[in-house]
Amino acid sequence: MAKYVILGASAAGIGAVEAIREADPVGTLTVITDEACSHYSRPMISDFVSGKADLKKVDCRNEDFWKENNVEAILGKKATAINFDEKIVQLEGGEKIPYEKLLIATGGKPFVPKMEGSDKDGVFTFTTLKDAQILATKISSINAKSAVVIGAGLIGISVTEALVKRGLKVTMVELQDKILSLLLDPKGSDIVEMVVRKAGVNIITGQSVQKIIGKPDNDSAVGGVILTKGDQVPCDIVVVAIGVVPRVELVAGTAVKTNRGIVVDSMMQTSVPDVYASGDVAEAYDFVLNQNRLLPLWPLAVLEGQVAGCNMAGKKSTYAGGTNMSSLKYFGIPVVSVGLANPKDDPTLEVLVKSDPERNVYKKLVLKNNVIIGMTLVNSVERAGILFYLMKNAVNVKKLKQQLLEDDFGWAALPVTLQKKMRVVQ
């Protein structure tokens, strides 16, 4: 009997292991993952494809992380069922792992829409290290020259950069009118789009791929795509990067309550006693929208895993919440986006903007009742964390509006009481 069982060995699983071991150094702990490689950084798989990071660099913990933390790691094995009454996880091959406390951190799987030709050789998704390894190998083996990336969000832009660095001619196809539409408003998006285009990327928005076609001499291999309006784009490789959906199969039809993902409370507990969920599979709290929702982001998954781990080990912890928050480094133009980036016309909201087109700088804050609820920073992200602090702690910024978007804005502009509270000064 393992005291703790964790399904999944990525961000949430790692966070949970570390939190459990801080509270309970000895309780037996088993981690189960269907991946052969574990505790690697998923956000870094694009650096792996581009050649910037090798397998060692992609590892986001020490090589002997499981041993250090006294974990029995079952790698490359899938959990096939959970019996919540008897508290047993069943693995492929029939092995049964009983648990006292269980964390479901199975993450998300790439969403691939129904498309004719999506079964052709040369169609990839981009979520796991294995995906990245297969993609990198394929690029070399067929000496790929061109690619179509479907989706211009976080994953889409990361894989596009990697492919460009590998020398491929890339076309991004995005159904929305703008790239990075979940992170940027149209103005911010335009700046990034211009930079990405300058790197040689062809960007097609407002369309999707209706069909993947084969090569003239080999129909089973990817030869191009046909867009919704009928245009044809030839390519050797297609990467589907639309997003991820929660891997909830294990709890489907069980007592574990799900919405789009697994429903959890502020302690990351599911509706079933002793069963927790964290990361991309769970619907955790968004402090900007004031509701639980899917937010498949690495830093939040680690945090949620930490909260679950603490509670599993009997050390009470509550999740303060996250929000849509990403920092992007791609194509040499840093972007930070937190909370509401592109609110609809709402008279209760105030928007502060500062733009400097010559420097490709665009900064925007969305305020409600003098509290920041959205920040977008393009090509000027230094000290973004100070704004994030004001946002997360709902600090009233009424008297700071003139300064917030200045390049030298910092703690010196903030009230002395706050400086002392945060021990910025003595």
Partner: protein, 148 residues
């Protein structure tokens, strides 16, 4: 308890010498002229003087007990040293994603844009006192045990 750098705002003259000495300390040459004039990659100061006249003070990594940069780090470059409780950063592991910059409430993580990695205060490992503290002409920075 961990030794931390504390800023005494009332003593700070805003001279910026802490930035100069930090830059030299983190240069390869340890030579002020070379550090500023010729060394590549450019050495970077990990302390920054904030000014809002007449107020000024220096700010650098607080080595937070519950460090948001460590939790948020996508690559595992940012760690909490279990022995010293210091927040350490491994530039070899850093992927330059700036996620830590997004979450650091002190704005204390410096973007090394040439190196595409983050630079931060390491409390001048191996020295009795960090260079910024040792060279502050008006004791506006002190190095002592403090909670945070």
């Amino acid at each position: 308890m961990v030794k931390r750098i504390i800023a005494k705002q009332e003593n700070c003259m805003g001279c910026g010498l802490c930035e100069v000495y930090c830059t030299v300390q983190h240069s390869k040459s340890k030579d002020i002229v070379k550090a500023y004039n010729s060394e590549r990659p450019r050495p970077i100061s990990r302390v920054r003087v904030e000014r809002n006249n007449p107020v000024s003070f220096a700010i650098q990594c607080r080595h937070c007990e519950d460090a948001p940069c460590v939790t948020a780090c996508l690559s595992g470059a940012m760690r909490k040293d279990p022995k010293t409780s210091q927040v350490t950063h491994d530039p070899q592991k850093c992927m330059g994603c700036w996620t830590c910059v997004m979450v650091c409430p002190y704005g204390a993580l410096i973007m090394d844009k040439e190196g595409h990695v983050v630079a931060k205060c390491d409390l001048c490992q191996g020295f009795d006192e960090p260079a910024c503290v040792a060279n502050c002409p008006n004791e506006a920075l002190v190095f002592k045990e403090a909670k945070h």
